[in-house]
């Protein structure tokens, strides 16, 4: 043990790899930042005019608001759908855990680009309030995209508590099923539910594929539009988008969980 200990504290190659990694990750962000503070007319440093363009663009506000509403709706829908399901599976149908866990891997085989082909074709001709509305069509798809994230978060949350004892105690004390779920189970899986929610937020705020191919104008499609038309504001808005992902991931840390470890990280944002 002594020799190992002595050999380990400092390793040149380890530091070289860490430095290379850090450089590769930081340089594009730094470059985007430097780009974003160039003057939109002269291209010289330093000006906040690129940010001004974005902030004064009402399209920016409508699309970011839409994306945010869609995130909230997706979060609400997936929690409503998955919390009772995962709870029930843990409580009554433990043998189904493997099945649901396997289903959570299916979005890997059916990524957004395939899902959108199927959804557009399958729901063609369905009522306008669903097919023509981002609040219907997009949210329906995003719940599927969020499924693996929310499921793995909730599953580990439920594994950490004694579902049977909590439920029995609550029912014996005269609580109804809904009340058991709301005031006994939910507070105990709050962290898991919140981290699933923040992951979903990051996914929906960044999802481009399904939104653009079904012709909805969300925040990521706005970024693409700016990319094609104005270079410096594009840097500014790209950085804002990175900030949103960053904030969502930091929120997961703040509520007390490592972001994403041991999960299948295949989201729609790519």
């Amino acid at each position: 043990m002594g020799t190992l200990r002595l050999r380990r504290p400092f390793s040149l190659s380890a530091w070289v790899w860490l430095l290379l990694g850090a450089a590769y990750f930081m340089i594009p962000l730094l470059a985007t930042f430097l780009f974003s503070i160039k003057d939109k007319h002269t291209g010289s440093c330093c000006s906040l005019s690129a940010y001004g363009v974005i902030v004064h663009d009402h399209q920016f506000w409508t699309t970011i608001k839409l994306s945010f509403i869609l995130s909230l709706e997706t979060i609400a829908a997936s929690l409503l759908l998955f919390v009772p399901t995962v709870y029930w599976v843990h409580l009554k149908l433990p043998r189904l855990r493997a099945v649901v866990g396997f289903l959570a891997l299916i979005p890997f085989v059916v990524p957004p680009i395939i899902l959108v082909v199927g959804l557009l074709d399958f729901y063609r001709g369905s009522p306008r309030w669903f097919y023509g509305q981002p609040y219907g069509f997009l949210v329906a798809a995003y719940v599927i995209l969020a499924f693996p994230y929310v499921y793995f978060s909730l599953d580990s949350g439920f594994r950490a508590i004694d579902v049977h004892t909590l439920t029995e105690a609550s029912l014996n004390l005269g609580a109804s099923w809904p009340r058991t779920l709301l005031s006994v189970i939910l507070p105990n899986i709050r962290v898991a539910a919140l981290s699933g929610a923040f992951l979903t937020l990051a996914i929906v705020m960044g999802e481009f594929t399904i939104a653009t191919l079904s012709a909805f104008h969300t925040f990521p499609t706005y970024i693409q539009y700016i990319n094609e038309t104005q270079a410096y504001p594009a840097a500014a808005v790209s950085l804002m988008s990175f900030g949103i992902t960053w904030a969502a991931m930091l929120s997961i840390l703040l509520v007390g969980r490592r972001p994403g470890a041991r999960q299948v990280q295949i989201a729609g944002t790519r």
Binding site: L4, R7, R8, F10, S11, S13, A14, L18, L20, G21, Y24, F25, I27, P28, L30, A31, T32, L34, F35, L81, K92, L93, L105, I106, F108, V109, V110, P111, P112, I113, I114, L115, V117, G118, L119, D121, A140, I144, L199, G206, F208, T209, P220, I223, N227, A234, A235, S238, F242, T245, W246, L250, L253, P259, G260, A261, V264, Q265, T269, R270
Partner: protein
Amino acid sequence: MPLAWLGVVPFFAYALLFLFFPAGQVLVGAFKGAHGSFTLANVHDLVRVHQFRNAYKASIEISLVTALLGAVFGLLIAYAAIREGTPRWIRSAFTTFSGVAANFGGIPLAFAFIATLGTIGIVTQFLANQLHYNLYQHGFSLFTKTGVEIVYLYFQIPLMLLVIAPAIDGLRREWSEASSNLGASRLQYWRYIGIPILLPSILGAVILLFGNAFAAYATAYGLTSSGLGLVPILIGSDLSGNVLSNPHEGQALAFGMFVVLGLMMLFYVPLQRRASRWAR
């Protein structure tokens, strides 16, 4: 509890409506002709038509290259960050950043690289002005396969780091101590103990990375619009109504992706099972 299964009906109904039916529609549509009759022509086109065959070749090549490079670099960085002797905060900095970067992709990522390595990107300009080396005159372009690979690695490496970190944590210190007590060198430790134990996790991660790159649409689109003929890009142009004329062609292309990803999954599941044996 004979009625207990009723509790999971909403979930399965949802999965059926918004995942299985649409996916089934793609599978069936791939085998439909223009008038709705059964045909193998669309799927046959995938290998017959030049454009499609090249698209699969390019997509598979990019996915393979970025999966392997992502795995190698991700593993090296993960090990460097996790090993004893590296300060704790570096490890948390890297894993936190990876959590963000693995979920950061698509259009903004594409633009970040345009600002870095595009024709007027910061690094391109720096090399040209300070070192008098013009990347774009030496055959480099961000808007080619190589460029897309460089950009994809930005989410592939962090994904590898996140996936492999628990497996590296699972390497117990006793094992390396025991092997060194028995006279093994560092190299022998890795050759006979470390790598064999990590191997199922590494292979599983490579598959995950492959699928991750193979299915990516937004990043490639943000970089090259429809310029680079990757499978997702072709499907996208088909859906938005240019290039291809037959609506079932897009479904056939999607079917082909589905087959590739499905094959990957067949390898992934048993590897995952084996890998979880040593996980802590």
